[in-house]
């Protein structure tokens, strides 16, 4: 029986010798690229927040989900082994919470409950999410006997309490915090693949609050964005303009778009690029390694490559993902507003899926 840890090692960890010789991209250049990308994103998001939001979601929302799917498949063990309970609860939670989240607006459309009950329903869903996360952290903690993860229970209960005080604000916090999870993935990934870059990366992360403060400082005094059409109104509402009326919607949308751009950047550029950049500086990749470096190559996924793996299932999943991305682009082209609403509702699944896979990396 193959364990998760073995798959992780095989799929992502380079040998120390390879890491020592792989210095194709220096740490300074890496840090410079990160800072330049972050500043450029902040500039674009501050300059034309609504337009940039429309364009980035159109172009990158679907593909970044496909890359996440592929990443999760890469991280999936062939046999669950000791992690059986963890993965069963993780997938059950993802399925149930996603179905519940998607069904809420549908049920609300039929006016099954008065408007004033909506915050209570929202708080109930958030509570289930927090309890699920607490349970996952607890299960993961059991696999780490050297660490005490019991704090997860009081933490999740404390967050539940805050959630019941202001459920709308709690949901808004998820909107803003979710993009940052990608940065945590990158941190864990760098720790395994490019430890030499980790320090520079964390220094760059320290600049992120400065950028956010700078954006708020510049934009909170600007007039609110003109959300006079349905699309722009939805974008400002998504960023919390209604919940935070004392903050300029320009600042809110700009910050949200900036974080989304970082999120897309990590999943679409940073994480896929790290593997090819880790090739030995002395020469070329071996044919097998080059083959594995291609993102569309199914055999690069351990779950498909393993003798006891599921190559057909992985191929179908990735192909179906490509199909969904094409459908999403088609939908955006035909009716952007509706497709955007549907996308951000269904996309809760990928938000939820990030939690167990991130926990497995910690």
């Amino acid at each position: 029986m193959e364990r998760t840890a073995n798959i992780d090692l095989a799929a992502w960890r380079s040998s120390p010798a390879a890491l020592a010789t792989s210095r194709q991209l220096s740490t300074r250049v890496f840090a410079g690229i990160l800072i330049a990308c972050a500043c450029l994103s902040a500039l674009l998001a501050s300059w034309l927040p609504l337009q940039v939001s429309v364009v980035t979601v159109f172009l990158f929302a679907g593909p970044h989900n496909w890359f996440e799917l592929r990443y999760f498949l890469m991280r999936m063990p062939v046999r669950f082994g000791r992690s059986r309970n963890f993965f069963v609860i993780a997938f059950a939670g993802i399925g149930f919470l996603t179905l519940a989240y998607v069904s809420l607006p549908l049920l609300n459309a039929f006016s099954l409950w008065p408007d004033n009950v909506w915050p209570t329903i929202l708080a109930s869903w958030n509570t289930l999410l927090l309890l699920w996360l607490g349970l996952l952290v607890g299960l993961r903690g059991r696999q780490k006997p050297k660490r005490d993860w019991s704090w997860a229970i009081p933490s999740s209960l404390g967050l539940c309490s805050l959630n019941w005080l202001a459920p709308e604000f709690f949901s808004l916090a998820i909107v803003y915090l979710h993009p940052l999870v990608a940065l945590w993935f990158l941190d864990r990934h760098l720790r395994r693949r490019r430890p030499a870059w980790l320090r520079a990366y964390r220094v760059c992360l320290g600049l992120l609050p400065l950028l956010l403060i700078g954006m708020f400082w510049q934009l909170t005094r600007t007039p609110a964005l003109a959300d006079d059409n349905g699309l722009f109104w939805r974008i400002t509402q998504h960023a919390g303009a209604q919940l935070l009326p004392n903050i300029s919607s320009h600042a809110l949308v700009a910050v949200h778009v900036f974080l989304e751009m970082l999120h897309y950047g990590v999943w679409l550029i940073a994480l896929p690029l790290i593997a090819p950049l880790a090739k030995p500086a002395t020469g070329r990749l071996s044919p097998a390694a080059r083959k594995r470096a291609r993102v569309w190559d199914v055999s690069s996924v351990p779950l498909a490559r393993h003798p006891r793996g599921f190559p057909t299932l992985v191929t179908i999943a990735l192909a179906f993902g490509v199909f969904l991305v094409a459908i999403l682009w088609f939908g955006f082209s035909v009716d952007y507003v509706t497709t955007r609403d549907v996308y951000f509702t269904v996309a809760i699944a990928h938000v939820l899926a990030e939690a167990p896979f991130l926990l497995k990396m910690i």
């Binding site: 800072i35 500039l43 229970i153 009081p154 019941w164 005080l165 950028l211 700078g214 600007t222 007039p223």
Partner: protein, 189 residues
């Protein structure tokens, strides 16, 4: 590291040079005059047996008030939102209680003996400060009649009087239309 820092400074400068129109100050809001939404009658009744001040609003006046407020934009604060949902407040309290209980058990198990004393002192201190805050801010103050006792003198002086009040909705048949303010007043001996 010099080129790296130069690049950092350049990028920060670029970020700081974000839209210049961001510096245009907003117009200072002019103070809004209070708007009369309803005219009704008010009866003030001293009551020697009352413990707390009561504002009785008849059903009819309440409906008129609701109708008048229907067109008034509302912008509830966070405290108002919480105060208007007792179920959510109770659940928040329940989860907070559970959270603190589990946190206490976790701290007691994880921290060493010497640390336990410090944690216990911290928790007791927090509880005392919390209780003091509750007493200061909530309904643990003196009885309503005490706060209202200087109302006659203050009225003759033209000075304001501060006191708590309960708002009641009473049927029209009992008291007739309008609003009645019952002030707890103890007769002077």
């Amino acid at each position: 590291m010099k080129p790296f820092f130069s690049l950092c400074i350049l990028c920060l400068l670029l970020a700081a040079a974000m839209p210049t129109y961001g510096d245009i100050a907003r117009r200072s809001p002019s103070p809004e005059k209070p708007r009369i939404v309803l005219h009704t009658s008010l009866t003030i009744v001293p009551d020697s047996k009352a413990y707390e001040g009561r504002l009785q609003i008849s059903q009819g006046s309440l409906q008129e008030l609701r109708a008048a407020l229907a067109n008034t934009p509302t912008n509830e604060s966070m405290a108002q939102r919480i105060a208007h949902s007792s179920t959510r407040t109770m659940l928040a309290g329940l989860f907070m209680f559970l959270s603190l209980s589990f946190a206490g058990v976790w701290l007691a198990r994880s921290v060493q003996a010497r640390g336990q004393k410090a944690v216990a002192a911290l928790l007791i201190g927090t509880a005392i400060v919390g209780a003091a805050a509750i007493i200061a801010r909530a309904n643990a103050g003196p009885p309503g009649s005490y706060l209202w006792r200087k109302l006659p003198q203050n009225l003759s002086k033209g000075a304001p009087t501060y006191g708590g009040i309960d708002i009641e909705i009473v049927p029209d048949a009992n008291e007739g239309p309008g609003i009645k303010l019952i002030i707890p007043m103890r007769p002077e001996r």
